[in-house]
Symmetry: C2
Subunit: 351 residues, 2 copies
């Protein structure tokens, strides 16, 4: 057919090395990071995307608003501790919260495969609404597309979200400073292991439930108490390892963490061993890292410990002064090693 390709600018992504998109390009690891940094950000070149933040902030009429989007393609659609619908609400609410925004409104874009049971669709929609109500947001606009059987996979959901940033300080990777303490808000790796246990048909003594939850409440609690927060990031694809690597790169500082301080539940640790995963690379959907200056650590942890979803918050390390912007892990036996981002091949379609 007649399709003269219009002029394209040169692509900074090394297409010769990766002529086709791989599953790992969506896996939250090194390959995805490269695709975003060398293809997507350059394509849309603007200062917002270059901030590498979960949500972009813009000003309008003297107000600061946050805007974010995420698509959700997790399989299976229903899993212990949640489902595609609640995940699609929590994930976007959390991306807004990570920018210090109060989440207000969501959109819902559904891409449904022909043949999906209407009953399943209704359950997913009802779950979205319950999650939205619990998180204090409204789903005010939507779209529905249907694709032919075999051209989709059940239901995919995109949610975009708008929030308002009420404080004047910027909670962002660029605000991270040497000496900041690094906190995590609870135990790691449960969402990923809940999904993998279902996929692999594994039965553990206790069921591992996803940690999927909205985090706007505990963020608001810190801000309302006047805690000085430098940066927040929810831990999703690629796990803690990807988040810390991204933030080391974006801030320009090394991050030092200790293996012995990492909160991982025993059943999750066992499941990870059986399936050959590193819990620090496994996705959460209701956990975040927080960067606060040393004098604020005690107060921040006290506030979080009083809120159910962050009751397991601990300090795992601190931001270093000099050296390459890497993540350095002190192992339980005292050795230091660089914690590299995984390629992203291990856990496809976890969110």
């Amino acid at each position: 057919m007649s399709d003269p390709a219009p002029f394209e600018p040169a692509c900074p992504f090394p297409i010769e090395n990766y002529p086709q998109v791989l599953l790992a390009h969506g896996g939250g690891g090194r390959l995805m990071h490269q695709l975003i940094q060398r293809m997507i950000v350059p394509a849309f070149k603007n200062p917002w995307l270059e901030q590498q933040h979960d949500a972009s902030i813009f000003e309008l009429g003297g107000q600061r608003l946050a805007f974010t989007t995420d698509s959700y393609v997790v399989r299976p659609m229903f899993f212990p501790g949640g489902d595609l619908g609640s995940l699609a609400v929590h994930g976007t609410v959390n991306d807004l919260a990570m920018a210090g925004a109060r989440p207000l409104y969501l959109s819902a874009g559904l891409i449904i495969e022909e043949g999906v049971a209407m009953e399943s669709l209704w359950r997913i929609l009802a779950s979205m609404q319950r999650a939205a109500t619990a998180a204090g947001v409204q789903i005010i606009t939507g779209d529905t597309k249907v694709v032919d059987r075999g051209k989709g996979d059940g239901i995919f959901i995109n949610t975009a979200g708008i929030g308002v940033v009420e404080q004047t300080v910027s909670i962002a990777p660029a605000s991270i400073k040497p000496g900041d303490a690094v906190l995590v808000s609870g135990d790691l790796g449960r969402h990923g292991m809940a999904i993998m246990a279902v996929r692999e048909g594994l039965e553990f003594e206790s069921s591992i439930e996803s940690d999927s939850a909205p985090l706007a409440g505990p963020v608001r609690a810190l801000l309302d108490a006047g805690v000085e927060v430098h940066c927040l990031r929810d831990i999703t694809r690629g796990g803690l390892t990807s988040v810390l690597n991204e933030l080391a790169e974006a801030s320009g500082f090394p991050i030092h963490v200790e293996e012995a301080r990492m909160p991982v539940r025993e059943d999750v640790r066992v499941a990870c061993e059986i399936l050959g995963f590193d819990p620090l690379q496994v996705a959460c959907e209701g956990r975040m890292v927080g960067f606060v200056p040393e004098p604020e650590v005690e107060r921040a942890l006290k506030i979080w410990s009083g809120i159910e979803v962050t009751a397991g918050a601990v300090r795992i390390g601190e931001v270093g002064q000099g050296g390459a912007p890497r993540v350095i892990l002190k192992s339980t036996i005292g050795a230091q090693r660089i914690l590299d981002m995984g390629s992203g091949e291990q856990l496809p379609r976890i969110c």
Copy 2:
């Protein structure tokens, strides 16, 4: 697996009649309308969705903002007159414009099937950026997911958009009044026929190119000139017929239109005849209907005639006073018939 279904409210959609999602549930016709009105709107029950508008308007700090979302799953990804990328920008820009908003910021959520050529991805992204620049919007936040081969179909794009509503009047279905003239901004059915011609491998004497284009400019031109505009709606899935039926229902008034006034290009009319389509049910992606009071008709048409994308604007009918909220077509031989919404089965994945 352990999956105790949480309590769901009763679903007002007749699941017993449609236990599974059909392709037609995304086709822009009667079945899609029913799915939205009886399942999706009730699930998220709130006044915004009940307005049945292309974009939802909310107030924040004394400003009125518009928010909208659409996913794009068109096949093929490249077609005469456009591609998936430009379509994904134009469609969302247009939804904002239809609410009288000035489009400002877009999000981009990509769902990519494993194996897509990187080169195609880059072409689509570059096309999005060109379209965004031309429409005066910025793509400030994004997300990338990859699904396994055979679980998607090339690239799906969701774009959500934010705009600001600067005028005080409400451009919405509820503002339609008896006696309003009904305008269309240009010739009908080109986008759908461009896609179908490619799919069917048809060769016409002249290539039919999609009308895909941003409409924010011609909307702004009316508003800047102070033209009183009651309602605008872009003509997409289901064509003019679906749009007019939706607006008759939403406004509560009948809409009378004349077949002889419908602008359909000769090659599009021929293609429709060959393929068995009604041009009034075929999608456009750069056309809108406008409802203006009688005294404003001449001025509105004059303004639009001076802008390339709306140069073919004409008046096709008017809003009636009483009777059922239906669409009545006066045929070329003078007979009147009710123009019913199609089921939506004819043109899957047109946008």
